[in-house]
Each structure stands twice: as C-alpha cells, then as structure tokens.
C-alpha cells in the first residue's frame, strides 16, 4: 500500500474499573486497516473483540474505563482528542453499524426523517436536498421503491431492511472507515447473505475500509482481506485471511477453525459424526469419530406426526374480533424413530419452534394427530399430559434464561424426578450426581446456582435436567445456536454421545445448516409453516430439490477463504408473512418422491 493506513491501532489496552482496581480486557492489540481493505476481528464471546471496536470509537463510559495506546485515524491520534472533537469524528470519518437492527432505529420517526436529519445537521443541506440524498442512499443500499418508503416507519421494515437503513445512515457522511459490529448475527441466513453482498458492493463503489467484527468464521472467510484472531483479550494471530485459515500458526486459531462446522464436510459419511476435539494448547486435533447406527427403523415410529396444524388468531378492532390467523404450522407430517435425529431447519418465523412446542402441547395445536410413545398426544387430559412429560423433554435455546436463577442446579435437576415420584430423595440425589457426571460436570456442583456457570455449562445442566425423566424423545430447540463455536462443538458431541448410550431420539430444531448436516440422520426443511422437503441427510444436502432448500444452502457462509469475493446474487426478496385472512383455504400440496424417503413439495 502506497498511502498510509486509514486506521492504525498501536498497543491498544483497555481496562475496566472493578471493585478492586482495574481489570484489563483488551491487551496490547495492534493492527492497520488500509484504504479499501476489509479487516475482520474474530473471536468468541469474551475475547474482547467488541471492546476493541468500542475503544476505537471511544464509546466506553469514561469514568469506568481506561484506554491506553494509540489509535491513528488518517494519522491523527483520536485517543488524544477532546470529547467534542471526537463527536465530529464519529459518524463522519468513521461510521458504525451494530448487531440489533430492531432496536437501533427510533420507532417514532420515519426512516427518511432519521437519515435526512443527519444530512441536514452534519452536511448543512436544505430539507429538499437532504430528501433527495436520502432517497439516493436508500437506493444505494438496494431498498426497493426507495422514494415511496421514505415516509414509512421502522416497524414497517423487516430486520434485513432495517439493517440496510442503518448502513444507508452510516454511508450518509461518506465515511472512510465503517466499523461493523456483528452486523449480520441477528439476521436469517438468506438475509445475512444479502447484507454481506451489499457490504462488499458498497465497499467497491465507495472505496471505504471496513473493520468487521464477528464470531462467525464463515463470514470472515467470505468478506475479509485480513483477519485478526482474538482470544481472552489478546490478539493471538493476525495475517491474510488465507494464511489464517490454511496455515494458522497459533493453536487457538487451529482449534477454533476445526470446531467450525463446515457445510459439505459430511460427504462420504453415513452417520452423524462428532466434531474433532482440539487441544487449545497444542492445536492437535483428535480424529472425529463417526457414530454407529442408532436408528431403529422399520419398527413403529416413536413419534408420528400427521397433518399437524397450529394457527394463532389475529384479532383487531374494538371487540377483538378475529380477523385472520397466523398459520404457524400447516399440515406438517413426519415420523421419528428410536435413536434417530430428525432436524427441522428453516428461517425465523417458518414454524419450526411452534412445531416442536405443539408436539409437546406447550402450545395447543389446531388440528392433526400426534402419537408419541403410545400416547395420543392431542387427546390427553392434564394427568395424561403430565405422564407424557416422562417420554418427551425439551432443551431450550438460551441457557441464560432456561434455568430458574433462584434454584440451585441440583434442585433443578432432581425436581422433575421428585415431582413425578420416580424414587426417594436419596435416589434423586444419586440420579442428579449421575446426570451431572453424564453431561461432563462434577456432582459437587449441585449446590451451586446457575449464574456461577458459563453458557456452555448451563446448557449441559439444562440437558441433565431434561434427562432426569429418562425421556425417549428430546426436542432440542436451537439448543446450540447461542453457544460459542468451540462450546457448540462440545455440546453437539455430548448430544451425539447421549444418543449412542441412551438411544434417545432428537427432534433437532435449528437454523444452522452446517450443524444440522453434522448431527442429523434425516432433515426436514420448513418454509412458511410447511415442510417443503424431507429426506435422509445425504439426499437433502447433496441433492436438494426444492428451490427454497437450494437458496438456504447457497446462503450459508462457508469457512473457506477460496470463496472470498463470492457474490450470491440473492434477490432482495424477503420471507413472506404467514398471516392469512379468515377466508384463506390452504392449498392442497402435491409431493414427489425423489429417492427412497426423500420427498419434495412440488406445488
């Protein structure tokens, strides 16, 4: 690079004030971002990647934080600027976009007003100039019908569209540097693909530099020229993305990369395969073990779902008359055998979670048949329903909200056992100890409370609790989605091990195609409440038939730097709404059998 870097960070160290002294959370980080370059900072939660970006923008509260080192923006040390001068830098030379597009726009002003206000205030434009420029920006971020959407409010925009608006707002000042802090993490995978495409295009058009903060190695591979790997507040490795991915030197880098599920990595495997276990200190990976056949096919299925329908009434007007319904689950049928994992995949709002909850009757379905371990689920009374809980259990997504903070871990695990009167208090205690060991924790942790554990450990506790009734089916609702990559791999391995030893059937609900490919026997793809394609894992992943399945696969970022610069050309369309009027008759669907057990919706 001939010219000086846009951003140059030297020995950045950030500390936070704690009860007794200062705690350093980012240590000695140095890197450059050149003109037109994309640099990614990647790391797991607690690695200090977000704090690094906030330090650069000086957005940490002043009294409780201390930033040392140098941050040179176009050669000017912005750590030495006054707060007032800094305000001129933010949103002008550097713009930032955040993770949550849902909360970062003010709901009471129109989209157009929020953007043009920036232009009027910072650029001294007149109202009509600002309006014109705003429309141009909205067009730039490829929002269809930009001029007509100028006067709409944020709630009329979907998550992906809002993120586009945020980007438009960031572009308003023609910044030289864009800091994107997990900008696609909260978005669905097809929408994420669109936004990544957009950032790449805009970068070319505007020639700006991008500092991209993410936890997702797939996204990094796709977007970054250079990559910085952070681990526990330190920069463990930095270099060209290709070098990091293919010739990573630090053991942590290699550990992180091998834990990343890679779409397409299961070619040639017949059964679900454990993630390789990597030693963080040496970076040596143990060979991943393929599971043995646990599925008891041919016998009666453990769980049979036929034509399941779940709708939620939409009410409006003075007397809350029902004016329509959310068709969350529409005519869903599938079987699940003992020891089998069936994955339900799809994007947010496709009805996969509702399906799981309807089967357990945590939500009352509207119609259909569910038979589970001999129970006719939809016709059970309260007592029968309670007995059903012994056969089917659930693991939730967020380990931080799925455990009662006021109950010790031991009490939480033994509670179902005791309440169902499965044994004495002593037996419950033994069972708890046994379960804690089974999920890889130690029995003496029973007296502690959930807040004393990390996310991964909490998820293990939740799994132990689910196991306390010896269920035959476990509904795992996005159970690994909220976890860091390495923890995700460990918990997936734990689920696979439990399936091996206990012959549990999993209904694995997930939006993460790469994880699904790794752990499941069969896959069902859901779209707008319906299963559009279902079949054995290999068939669905290697020979997808339905256009939506293909689109979903194409959108998954693959951690392979060879794919950098890829343009998916995904159209800007969005997920359609499953809300229908009262007179809506669901169409009768036709299905075609592609190969044995692989069925796809054709019309």
């Amino acid at each position: 690079m001939a010219d000086a870097p846009v951003l140059s960070v030297r020995n950045l160290t950030t500390s936070f004030r704690t009860g007794d002294g200062w705690k350093t959370v980012v240590r000695d980080v140095s890197f450059d971002v050149n003109t037109g370059e994309t640099v990614a900072i990647v790391g797991e939660s607690g690695s200090g990647k977000s704090v690094t970006s906030l330090s650069i923008m000086r957005l940490l509260s002043q009294g409780s934080s201390r930033i040392e080192g140098e941050v040179l923006l176009n050669g000017r040390n912005i750590l030495a600027l006054s707060e007032k001068e800094m305000r001129g830098v933010r949103g002008n030379d550097v713009a930032m976009i955040f993770q949550e597009p849902m909360t970062s726009l003010n709901p009471i002003f129109t989209i157009g007003r929020q953007i043009s206000e920036v232009l009027v205030r910072h650029k001294g434009m007149t109202a009509s100039q600002a309006r014109e420029e705003t429309v141009r920006l909205l067009e730039k971020v490829r929002i269809p019908n930009a001029s007509s959407r100028f006067d709409e409010y944020p709630h009329q925009f979907s998550g992906g569209m809002r993120q586009r608006v945020m980007i438009a707002m960031a572009l308003a000042s023609k910044p030289k540097l864009l800091i994107a802090d997990e900008p696609t993490t909260a978005l669905d995978v097809t929408i994420q693909g669109q936004i990544l495409d957009l950032i790449k295009v805009l970068q070319e058009e505007e020639g700006m530099s991008v500092l991209f903060i993410t936890h997702d190695m797939g996204v990094v591979a796709e977007i970054a020229d250079r990559t910085i790997v952070m681990y526990r507040g330190e920069q463990v490795e930095a270099g060209a993305t290709e070098d990091i991915f293919l010739r990573g030197k630090h053991p942590y880098t290699r550990a992180l990369l091998s834990a990343v599920p890679k779409l397409g990595s299961m070619k040639g495997h017949t059964w679900p395969t454990r993630f390789p276990v990597v030693d963080v200190t040496t970076g040596e990976a143990a060979e991943p073990v393929e599971a043995t056949d646990t599925v008891e096919k041919g016998k009666t299925p453990l769980l049979a779902v036929k034509n399941l329908v779940t709708r939620f009434p939409v009410r409006s007007g003075l007397f809350s008359r029902q004016t329509g319904a959310v068709h969350a689950v529409e005519n869903v049928s599938f079987d699940l055998f003992r020891g089998e994992t069936l994955a339900l995949v799809g994007e947010s709002g496709c009805g996969k979670s509702t399906t799981g909850r309807s089967i357990m009757r945590l939500i009352e379905p509207t119609g259909g048949e569910v038979s589970l371990d001999g129970y006719d689920v939809l016709r059970l009374d309260q007592v029968g329903l309670r007995n059903l809980r012994k056969s089917v259990q659930m693991i939730f997504q967020d380990p931080f909200s799925s455990l009662n903070p006021r109950m010790s871990v031991g009490a939480a695990i033994s509670e179902p056992f005791i309440k169902h009167k499965l044994g004495t208090a002593r037996q419950a205690k033994e069972k708890t100890a046994d379960l804690l060991t089974k999920v890889g924790l130690s029995p003496d942790m029973a007296d502690r409370y959930p807040h004393e554990f990390s996310g991964g450990q909490r998820q293990r506790i939740a799994i132990a609790r689910a196991l306390s009734l010896d269920p035959k089916v476990i509904v795992a609702d996005e159970s690994v989605s909220a976890l860091d990559v390495s923890i995700k791999a460990q918990v997936c391995n734990l689920l696979l091990d439990l399936q091996q030893s206990l012959d549990i059937a999993f209904l694995f609900i997930s939006h993460d195609m790469a994880v699904v490919e790794r752990v499941s026997h069969r896959v069902a793809v859901m779209y707008l409440g319906e299963i559009v394609e279902i079949g054995p894992r290999a068939a669905v992943f290697e020979n997808p038939q339905h256009p939506y399945t293909k689109k979903l696969m194409a959108a998954v970022p693959v951690p392979d730097p060879g794919r950098r610069g890829i343009r998916r050309g995904i159209s800007n369309d969005e997920l359609k709404s499953p809300i229908r009027g009262m007179d809506y008759k669901p169409p009768v669907r036709q299905y075609r059998e592609v190969s044995e057990g692989h069925v796809v919706q054709v019309a």
Binding site: L385, R386, L403, P405, M407, T424, K429, S468
Partner: protein, 291 residues
C-alpha cells in the same frame, strides 16, 4: 411419598436461608436498618415495664414544657410526658405500619400472581376491580373503609391494608407478565410441573425483589395513614398515643412547642429509613446472583 416431596426442597431451602443470612450480615446498610427497627420494636414491647410516666396522665402544671430533666422530650398540650407517649405510641405506629402492609402484601401478591399467570377473564376481573380501587385516592379509601368497619386501631390497620393492596396487585402482575415469558417457566411446564409449583417455585421467587422494596416504602405511607385516621378518630383511640396522632396535634403548636412535632417526626423518619435499608438488604440477600 409425601415425605419425599418435602425432604429435598427443605435441604435446599435451609442452605439458602443461611446463605441469605450471611449476605444480609455482610451488608452494612441492612445491619443499620435492622438495629433501628429492633431498637423501636424492643422499646414498644418493653413499654409496660419501663420506668416512665403514664402516657395518658395529664398535668395542668406542665403544659407544653420544653425538654428538661423531668420530661426528657418535653410535654404536650395537655401536659402529658412526650417520651412516654413516644414509647407507647411506637406500638400503635409500628403495628399499623407492619400489619397493614402485611395485609396488603398477603392479599395483593396472590391476586397479582393469579392475574398475571392465568390471564384471560381472571385477569380481566382482578384488573377491573384493582383499577376501580386505584381510581380512588388512597387515603379516601382508607377513611371510608375505616368508617365502615368502625373506629379502632385494628380496623384502621385492615382499612389501610386493603387500600394499599391494589398497588401490590398491579406490581406483582406486571412482574409476573415479564417472568412468565422466560424459558425456565416454559421449561417447568415441559417437565410436567403443575400450576401451583410453577407459581410458587418459579415465578414468585423471581418477582419478589420489587415487591419487598415497595413493601418497605408502603410501611412509611401506612404509618402516616394511621396518623390521619387517628386524627379523624378512626385509628388509635384518644387518649392512647400513636406517632401519627401526636404529629397531628403538634401541628397546631409548631411555633410554640416545636418539640411536640419533632420527636414523632424524627421517629417516623428513622423507622422508614430502617425499613428501607432492611428492604434493600433483604432484596440483595435473597438474590443468589449477587455476591
């Protein structure tokens, strides 16, 4: 089988109790609060055996005397010893504060819990009644109820408790609505727990913190409310003392005998602070997350 159901939770509970107690003792504020409240409580209980003059004995020779060796806190407009009336009055005031709030919590929290948990028509009915009660000013409701029940300290406490109840219904309901959506509540349903278990073990412990804070604040309001009722002859019956009634009389003599107002005012202030400190400490101590 019932034995099983009880043993395990009790083990867990006793452990929790000792932990909460340790945390309580580590908090300087809550210690101060406890000391203040204990001080007044002991005085109130010990009133009959303390060597103090009769709180209702009047003396024409000692009307509105400033504090002196004979009357440490001075005397009131009828020549009664204020120290003695303060000590005896502590009984009425503390009781009015604590018992009426206990009544409000005991009725308000369960209704709020039911309302928030079940929703639907249960919620509608409870909320409409609560709104109706809230629409009337607190004191007016208390006066009307007390007048209806008949003048006595007990009835005043019931009246105050019932008037303060809607706040707790509202507060509890709001908290329950928030906690109800947490995954762990759905988790409790998915392991097959009944409504009672979910409400008592999963929801109630997680909504209690703001209720405790509100309760300590309401103790202050209740003490003052008792004073107002006494003033109208609906609370503590004259000549028996309560801090509130003493304040009410004292306000007529603020310029001539400020000590008449000063002592009960200071006592109410201290007790309220004591309850607030204790409440804050209790809230933190009962939360396993904070250390």
């Amino acid at each position: 089988m019932t034995v099983i159901e009880q043993t395990a939770p009790t083990i867990a509970k006793s452990r929790e109790k000792s932990r909460a107690w340790r945390k309580m003792c580590a908090n300087r504020g809550s210690i101060v609060g406890m000391v203040i409240i204990l001080f007044f409580a002991i005085l109130a209980i010990a009133a009959p055996i303390l060597p103090i003059p009769d709180p209702v004995a009047t003396s024409w020779s000692a009307i509105r005397k400033a504090p002196s060796a004979a009357h440490w806190m001075g005397t009131d407009d009828l020549g009664r010893d204020i120290l003695s009336r303060m000590i005896w009055g502590a009984r009425a005031s503390l009781m009015a504060g604590v018992i009426s709030v206990a009544i409000a919590v005991a009725i308000g929290v369960p209704f709020g819990l039911l309302s928030g948990y079940f929703g639907g028509w249960v919620d509608q009915v409870i909320q409409r009644v609560t709104e109706a009660l809230l629409a009337m000013p607190f004191l007016i409701t208390a006066i009307a109820l007390a007048a209806f029940l008949g003048p006595s300290l007990t009835n005043a406490m019931i009246a105050i408790g019932l008037s303060a109840m809607p706040i707790f219904v509202r507060l509890t309901r709001g908290q329950v609505l928030a906690v109800k959506t947490e995954d762990y509540v759905e988790g409790a349903r998915s392991v097959g727990l009944g409504h009672v278990d979910i409400m008592t073990r999963y929801i109630l412990p997680n909504v209690f913190a703001p209720i405790i804070v509100q309760a300590t604040l309401t103790v202050a309001t209740a003490i003052i409310a008792e004073a107002s009722l006494s003033f109208l002859g609906l609370g503590q019956q004259a000549p028996a003392p309560s801090w509130g009634s003493m304040l009410n009389v004292a306000k007529n003599f603020l310029s001539q005998a400020p000590w008449m107002a000063m002592w009960p005012g200071a006592a109410i202030f201290l007790v309220v602070i004591g309850f607030n400190l204790l409440g804050d400490g209790l809230r933190d101590a009962l939360d396993p997350r904070e250390n």
